[in-house]
């Protein structure tokens, strides 16, 4: 079993499509929804896909055929370590526990991209603007 985190961007004509249903039924995948933001105009879904690597690849291919933009989530949030002063402000809004401070004795900020659910609250919370979204 493999696991892959992706971000799905739904265009207007696809917001009512039962895509996660098809991922489960047709591709034998287990989608774990980490964050969903959907209205009648567009939608964004952050999802962990669990399954065999082949089935994950097929599932992603299906999504693209549906005109749903699939983004490799891991590349999204970037911490500029030169600018960051490890104040820790961002850790206060990171419910997912991707940004932490103090677990190491050096009290430097640690970013675990695997845990990030792309809520993007850290972007504006960082007072020195060291956290950015990389497209």
């Amino acid at each position: 079993m493999a696991k892959k985190k992706i971000v799905l961007h739904y265009p207007e004509e696809r917001v009512e499509s039962p895509t996660t249903y098809h991922l489960v039924k047709d591709f034998d995948l287990v989608p774990i929804i980490l964050r969903a933001q959907i209205d009648e105009n567009e939608g964004t879904l952050v999802v962990d896909l669990e399954g065999s690597p082949e089935q994950i690849a097929k599932g992603i291919e299906y999504l693209r055929e549906q005109n749903i933009r699939v983004q490799e989530a891991i590349k999204d949030i970037v911490v500029d370590t030169e600018r960051c002063v490890s104040c820790g402000s961002c850790t206060g809004v990171c419910r997912a526990g991707a940004l932490t401070i103090g677990a190491q004795s050096d009290w430097n900020l640690v970013f675990d991209q695997e845990k990030c659910v792309f809520c993007e609250l850290c972007i504006n919370t960082c007072p020195i603007r060291a956290i950015k979204v990389q497209f």
Binding site: V85, S86, C87, G88, S89, C90, T91, G92, V93, R95, I101, G102, A103, D106, W107, N108, L121, N124, T125, P127, I128, R129
Partner: protein, 390 residues
């Protein structure tokens, strides 16, 4: 007989390269292992450090005279307004002043950080023109090397303890204590606690007017007590105030500073401010000074305030130690709340270590305060009254 030392004796040891200097973190273990009496005999200086957002900061600048000269009445630095009410080419730029073109994305603090970094700054000025200063408009570019003086003068830095901020309301709050999540979703705090200058000298025995300090990566001085100096704050048995109390007005040469220890910041939907690095050496003159500087996070308490109540008198929701705060979670009204700092502990540690190195190398001597601070000064509120009611 109890050991006592003088500033002269300690400075002489520094001169000879024999002074024993430790940080306010290191002294905790030394006292535990060797006791107060032995540690007082052994250690000469304890260094402290803090690196956090300090709004009441800014810089005085003198640009020199143009040809023909101008009496600058309105001044902008990279589109950020600076004060024009001083002499012809003097100004003060405050850290929290926003840009007139991009708002709070760039403010006075960013101008100061850019100056320290050696970057070029656009200078614009307007005037009404006088017989001796005929020019009415000016547009030019400066950096820290082309102007005469550039020094930080920060009216309120290095708060002696500060509040813990939470938000009990249903909506997210954007404050100078960071983003506060609804329904007690997080709690933020902002001192370096056991490393913090005034927490290690709670009754200001060695920190007063004239004390030589580390500011922004350069040597500087305590110029005065800071504004909103509130030394009459409620204190614990160990003398440490249980919330915001004393403050320092600090001065230092901007041209010698480093962007490692001064960093511009924008608190979302609040405004710009400046992270300032401050370190203060505490001379070990006697056992009382050492014992108070050996305090650790578990014995330093602060108060939790609900920032969703828009009043200057917010109720205290409880008291917690910095050991609890730094553990990552505290309990408020039976609920476990995640904690996050606003100030950088790793930078505070670097400042205390840097200052320690300066003293050990004989590059920094201790200055006895010329005048001490009152321990009974309170903060006055501003009442809204009619002219005849005052």
């Amino acid at each position: 007989m109890a050991v006592t030392k003088t500033y002269e004796e300690i400075n002489e040891k520094i001169r000879r390269g024999e002074a024993v200097v430790v940080t306010a973190e290191e002294i905790i273990d030394i006292v535990q292992e060797e006791g107060v009496a032995m540690a007082t005999k052994k250690v000469d200086v304890i260094t402290t450090g803090t690196f956090g957002p300090m709004c009441s900061s800014g810089a005085f600048l003198n640009f020199g005279h143009s040809e023909p000269p101008i009496r600058m009445a309105k001044i902008w630095l990279n589109d950020v307004p600076a004060y024009g009410g001083l002499a012809a080419v003097d100004t003060y730029i405050g850290a929290t002043e926003p840009s007139e073109t991009v708002g709070m994305a760039y403010g006075g603090a960013h101008v100061i950080e850019d100056l320290i970094s050696g970057k070029t700054i656009k200078l614009e000025a307007e005037s009404y023109g006088t017989d001796c200063y005929p020019r009415k408009e000016l547009l030019t570019y400066i950096n820290k090397d082309t102007i005469n003086e550039a020094y930080l003068f920060n009216p309120r830095n290095a708060y002696q303890n500060y509040a813990v901020a939470v938000n009990s309301s249903a909506r997210i709050l954007y404050t100078y204590m960071g983003t506060l999540l609804p329904r007690l979703g997080n709690a933020t705090y902002s001192t370096s606690s056991q490393l913090s200058p005034l927490i290690n000298d709670p009754y200001y025995r060695t920190i007063g007017i004239g004390t030589r300090v580390f500011i922004g990566g350069a040597p500087g001085y305590v110029a005065w007590n800071g504004t909103q100096f509130n030394s009459n704050q409620v204190r614990g048995d160990n003398g440490v105030p249980l919330s915001s109390a004393g403050t320092l007005a600090l001065i230092g040469n901007l041209k010698e500073m480093s962007p490692d220890f001064i960093r511009a910041a924008t608190f979302h939907n609040y405004g710009t401010t400046m992270f300032v690095g401050v370190g203060v050496p505490i001379p070990v003159l006697d056992e009382d000074i050492l014992q108070k500087a050996a305090i650790s996070d578990k014995d330093i308490y602060t108060s939790i305030y609900d920032y969703s109540i828009p009043s200057r008198s917010r109720p205290v929701l409880g008291r917690v130690s910095y050991a609890e705060l730094r553990s990552g979670k505290i309990e408020i009204n039976g609920k476990t709340v995640r904690t996050a700092p606003v100030a950088s502990y790793s930078k505070a540690r670097k400042i205390a270590e840097t200052l320690k190195g300066w003293i050990q190398q004989g590059d920094f001597y201790l200055q006895q305060p010329i005048e001490g601070f009152s321990t009974e000064q309170s903060v006055k509120p501003l009442e809204i009254v009619a002219e005849g009611e005052i």
